[in-house]
């Protein structure tokens, strides 16, 4: 009956209008690749204050950009391993990403070092779930990340699309699950695509 119960929302789902156009700019200065918010929505059983929603968007985007830097840009720039990912994931997800089967879909390792990395798209549409007390408990980020650069072997492109779900954990937002597809093309080789779902 859980499955039946869970369908309550399908007909009566209540969404709120975006609180405001909101974005955070990570460190890196002009021209830096960063994920910005493309849309903001709150699905709520109660009232969510503007302060709460703004803090949520800022916290989630901060985590997404830390992920972008550690898992995507660092290995792309260096051709080496990713940065420290453990603080960005919940305990439920961290092993699957750092040492488990989802590493290839979440981390851009194994490609030659690239320069002049630019984003054709780097946005996330955020949807938050809040309880009757106005506390935000879950945020989904629908990611559209399309990067290109140059390597010694020629043009390089990386795309990553799908959903990343974050939960508040230890005073920050951490990635708890995902449904992500990553595609990489470099050195004139065929595109490789990997998908991970948790």
């Amino acid at each position: 009956m859980f499955a039946v119960v869970a369908g309550l929302a399908l007909l009566t789902s209540c969404s709120r209008p975006p609180s405001q156009a909101f974005s955070t700019a990570p460190d890196g200065g002009v021209g830096a690749v960063a994920i910005t918010g493309a849309g903001f929505d709150v699905e709520s059983a109660g009232d969510v204050s503007k302060d709460t929603s703004d803090a949520t968007w800022a916290g989630v985007l901060a985590t997404l950009n830390r992920y972008l830097e550690a898992a995507v840009l660092t290995p792309l720039r260096t051709g080496g391993p990713a940065g420290d990912l453990a603080p960005l994931f919940t305990s439920l997800a961290v092993d699957r990403v750092t040492t488990g089967p989802d590493r290839a879909a979440l981390i851009d390792e194994g490609v030659p070092p690239a320069t002049d990395i630019r984003a054709d798209a780097s946005v996330a549409t955020l949807t938050a779930l809040a309880g009757s007390d106005g506390t935000v408990s879950v945020v989904d980020a629908t990611l559209d990340l399309r990067l290109r650069g140059r390597s010694a072997d020629g043009p390089l492109t990386v795309t990553r699309t799908g959903d990343i779900v974050l939960l508040p954990d230890g005073g920050t937002w951490r990635i708890d699950s995902y449904d992500i597809t990553a595609s990489r093309t470099f050195g004139g080789a065929a595109t490789t695509t990997t998908t991970a779902r948790s």
Binding site: M1, F2, A3, V4, V5, A6, G7, L8, A9, L10, L11, T12, S13, C14, S15, E43, S44, A45, T90, S91, L92, D95, R96, G100, T127, A128, L129, A130, G131, S132, S137, V138, D140, T142, D163, V165, L167, P168, D176, S177, D179, R197
Partner: protein, 284 residues
């Protein structure tokens, strides 16, 4: 639907008749399924009607989910099963809710099956009917023709589109060969129908969040955060209903303490052992 022989003593458990769903977390801390380990959830239908102040577990189903394998099992427990209730002695399994609410019901069934139940989800007659209606109905695979005017379960065999009232009648019809064993098996079929409908309707995390928000408005949460509920929902929706087994605890009917009861069958221990290690039944 009342359990006979309970007597007038015992704590009154708040009736969920006016709540679509009540979710109770059994242990402390956040809900963190351990990778590679099965998750067990108790789903209950209660016999409370609007205005009732007490209720009992009228339909009892343990859902074991194996995320790694993408499989699950619905283990149906006949409500009249005559078993030990911790701290209370031998009684019908559904009396546990009356005595100690969802936590004692979970503890009782956990001890019976040899598993750790993480959460209890319970609903009442009206809640079930309303939820099916809000889903827009469900397609139920009726195993045999039904013609029971008492419950209103009058269906041909085969796939039947049911609204809330029809689904409730289907779930309550016990005038069948096999009586309560068949009824509880049918309730498992209804759970599968609901899962199928939801899988079609909530294919991605955003959809899941949308129905979670409405769920939260109709649900009483006890020790459960929305994050926990989200994790459980995604876990359940990750399972293809085609990979879910629906089985009922074997038993024999009899009499005890002047009540009609179900004694745990000889095949039950082996079934429980098969179920508890990975939530997947190896035997046919």
């Amino acid at each position: 639907m009342l359990v006979v022989g309970l007597g007038a003593v015992g704590p009154a458990v708040p009736s969920p008749a006016n709540a679509a769903l009540e979710v109770t977390k059994v242990d402390k801390g956040s809900f963190e399924p351990v990778p590679g380990k099965p998750v067990f959830v108790l789903v209950m239908g209660q016999d409370a009607r609007p205005g009732d102040t007490q209720s009992r577990g009228d339909a009892l189903h343990v859902i074991g989910i194996n995320p790694a394998a993408g499989k699950a099992t619905i283990l149906n427990i006949p409500r009249d099963s005559w078993i030990n209730i911790p701290g209370r002695g031998v009684d019908k399994v559904n009396a546990a809710y009356y005595y100690g609410g969802p936590l004692l019901e979970a503890k009782t069934i956990s001890a019976l099956v040899g598993i750790d139940i993480s959460m209890v989800l319970s609903t009442g007659f009206q809640g079930l009917s309303d939820m099916v209606d809000e889903l827009g109905g469900v397609n139920v695979d009726v195993p045999i023709p039904m013609n029971d005017p008492l419950s209103g379960a009058i269906f041909p065999a085969g796939t039947v589109r049911m609204d809330g009232g029809a689904a409730l009648a289907f779930a309550r019809n016990r005038h069948l060969t096999g009586n309560d064993f068949t009824r509880t098996q049918d309730q498992g079929i209804l759970i599968l129908a609901g899962l199928s409908k939801l899988r079609d309707s909530a294919p991605n995390p955003v959809n899941t969040l949308k129905w979670m928000a409405v769920l939260a408005r109709h649900t009483r949460l006890d020790g459960v955060g929305l994050g926990d509920l989200y994790r459980l929902g995604r876990l359940a929706l990750s399972i293809d209903p085609a990979n879910v087994r629906n089985v009922t605890m074997p038993g024999t009917t009899g009499s005890a303490a002047n009540q009609s009861v179900v004694f745990v069958g000889a095949g039950a221990p082996a079934l429980f052992a098969d179920f508890r290690d990975d939530a997947i039944l190896q035997r046919s």
